[in-house]
């Protein structure tokens, strides 16, 4: 089953995301911010990255940019979870290399459906 790196500084969101994904059979690893995520992503190769945007230490957009620069993550789907439905943040994320986004609030079903989209 596909492996997913779930990045969020909020424990409840992180738990919700990882619980949902695990329940659906994905292999999930959690990271608490961009720095943590980058470390974990370098330690092993994930099939997909789901990240929050606003985080301390390293935000989600920078994380995506950093990951895209790694050969292993050139084509890996990366989704950002954002409360900002504004076009600006999305563009910024896209420019950094995000595959797509999910606008919070979302429920577990939406999350799974979106992941199914990118992971098939």
């Amino acid at each position: 089953m596909a492996s997913i790196l779930a990045v969020d500084d909020s424990a409840s969101m992180r738990k919700m995301v990882s619980f949902t994904l695990r329940a659906a059979g994905y292999d999930v690893e959690e990271a608490v911010d961009g720095v943590d995520a980058l470390e974990k992503a370098q330690a092993r190769r994930f099939d997909c990255v789901v990240t929050d945007v606003n985080m301390p230490n390293k935000d989600g957009i920078t994380l995506i940019r950093d990951l895209r620069a790694l050969p292993d993550y050139k084509f890996i789907p990366m989704l950002m979870l954002t409360t900002e439905s504004g076009i600006e943040k999305k563009q910024e994320g896209k420019a950094a290399g995000a595959t797509g986004w999910m606008v919070k609030p979302f429920n577990p079903d939406q999350l799974l459906k979106t992941l199914l989209k990118v992971l098939g």
Partner: protein, 703 residues
Amino acid sequence: MSIDMSQFHQVFFEECFEGLEAMESGLLTLDMGAIDSEIINTIFRGAHSIKGGSGTFGFTVVADYTHIMETLLDEMRDGRRQVTQPAVDVLLGSVDCLREMLTAIQNEQLVNDVSVAKHKTALEIVLNGGSIAEEPASPVERESANVAAVVNIAPDIIEEKSVELAGQGWKIAFCPYLDLLKTGNDPVRLFRELNELGELTTLANIQDVPGFYELDPEECNISWDLNVAGDISEDDIREIFNWVEGDCEIEIQPFAKAVKPLLPVVKKADPEPAPVIISNNPDPKPVEVKPKGVEETKKSDTQDTDNEAAKTTVKASSIRVDTDKIDTLINMVGEVVITQSMLGLVGENFTMDKVGQLKRGLAQLERHTRDLQQSVMNIRMLPISFVFSRFPRLVHDISGKLDKKIALKLVGENTEVDKAVVELINDPLVHLIRNSLDHGIEMPADRVAAGKPETGTIELKAYHRGGHIVIEIIDDGRGLDKDKLLAKAIEKGLIEESNLLTEKQIFELIFMPGFSTAEQLTDISGRGVGMDVVRRNIQSLGGNIEIISELGKGTTIAIHLPLTLAILDGQSVAVGDETYIVPLVSIIESINITEKMLNKVAGKGETFRLRNEYLPVIRMRGIFNVHSGNLTKSKEGVLVVVEGQGELCCLLVDELLGQQQVVIKSLEANYRRVEGVSGATILGDGSVALILDVPGLVRFSIR
């Protein structure tokens, strides 16, 4: 798949409260002169996380509210808005409001709409009142203006598209840019999704694919003509291409009718408006659709949880424990298990020659049990910062109200103390700090006149001493005026004019019921019900409170509290056949005496002369009505000199037994309150021993 979201609620609430605390302390440290963008960022993140979580978990009221805060903070973060003190105050108010809302939701109570509406209005006023208020609105307006423009160009076509032609299917010209793959998007994924909407036929145009030697496999050189047949709305198709917009050129047309007239219109409208249609169409969509989803989840969630969560999640009070502490605990348990199995082995075929082994085993068991107990108690220990962290806000708010300049200094916030003490000490401390703020620290002008710095300082300090935690509230204010206190006490009839009081006794007058020194009562403190209640509360925690003050220099109030309320080090004493426990911390010394060493003083009962000081003597037999045991023994006995509230007194007991740690059982919960007794414990032989309430007994002896 349905997932019970309520299981994340507890974590969410804890996280929110933590976030609110971080926001609060951030807001309090904001210095109007030099705004630290990192602090603003932290505050913003707090609001942002709460908004995201509350939306996801279905607490729409909270999400709506935080959305406004977030907008405001976002503007501050981007430097579009000045950070002003009034704005900060409103944000602080919002933090309170959110805390109330979340607490109400957590306890499944109704949110106080009135107070929420009030704070919301205040926020909106700040949000709209700023000079830059139009900024956030304008892009939206601009976008909608664009939409209008596009609609004007080809109004009939757009109508046609959605109304008449939707039933037939769509023709899509999809030409990805070379870099499309580098965003992790895969055309195949898009096709798969389109195929789910309706029957898809694809035609790949490979004329742009370079020769093999020039081919860069990371680039997407193919473009496609796609036909999707079926009753599909344009929005559904747009949504599929939502993520790749900007990474490709795309034309979507209904395929049955009017292919020709449509093309030129779209092409004429130069490349710009097209992306605008795309960006605008899919955009409102998630906004419209998703809230519905949220409402659904919310409904099903609350229904699911109402029954169960009411019993479990909400009431559960949790405590965060350092993993190190748990590891230690598990180690200890391991040790106990080993000792137990060793003792079991000894007991299996017991012969007298194994007595030594048995004793060693028991000694080990005792040691391990004590360690285990200590580790368990440690789990309940929380840093005092749990209490202290609320005070910067309190000081900020009150000093603002009083027009005083006051800096709060916290020292020893990591000092650990039992959770129960943490919970109970808050109110007394709030009261004492309010007092210091209100009565202690002078107005800035008065301070300058007295040659002190304009800004007053209150220091809140915690440290361990012996088995106690000491909390000191030190202010550099005007100090207590002895003469004024005396005059007041006499005026109120609390003492006689002829009474000669020591300095300490004079200060303690403020703990007497009905005593208030402020010339004028304010709403901050001083309704005259304060200090006596404070002292009583602290005493009921097994602690005491003392005052040191120097006129004009300041006041220090020191509170001594036991580290834990569950266990105490006690000295067992025998009175007749009964055993009593005297808390070890209150014992100064013990003296063997004979009856004739006691002096009877008229009007004062019995006293004992200890190094030139006459101390009142309490006969335990008398006070507790003990008649058993060998009466002649009382001719000789042991005097236990104890201290309570700074006063000494002697307890006459028959003999001293051992020292041990005792587990305190509440007498009030199991029987009723008994004067002179603070609780009970169960001794090794199963009998009950009462634990003496030393301050209570001392009070009794003074009366």
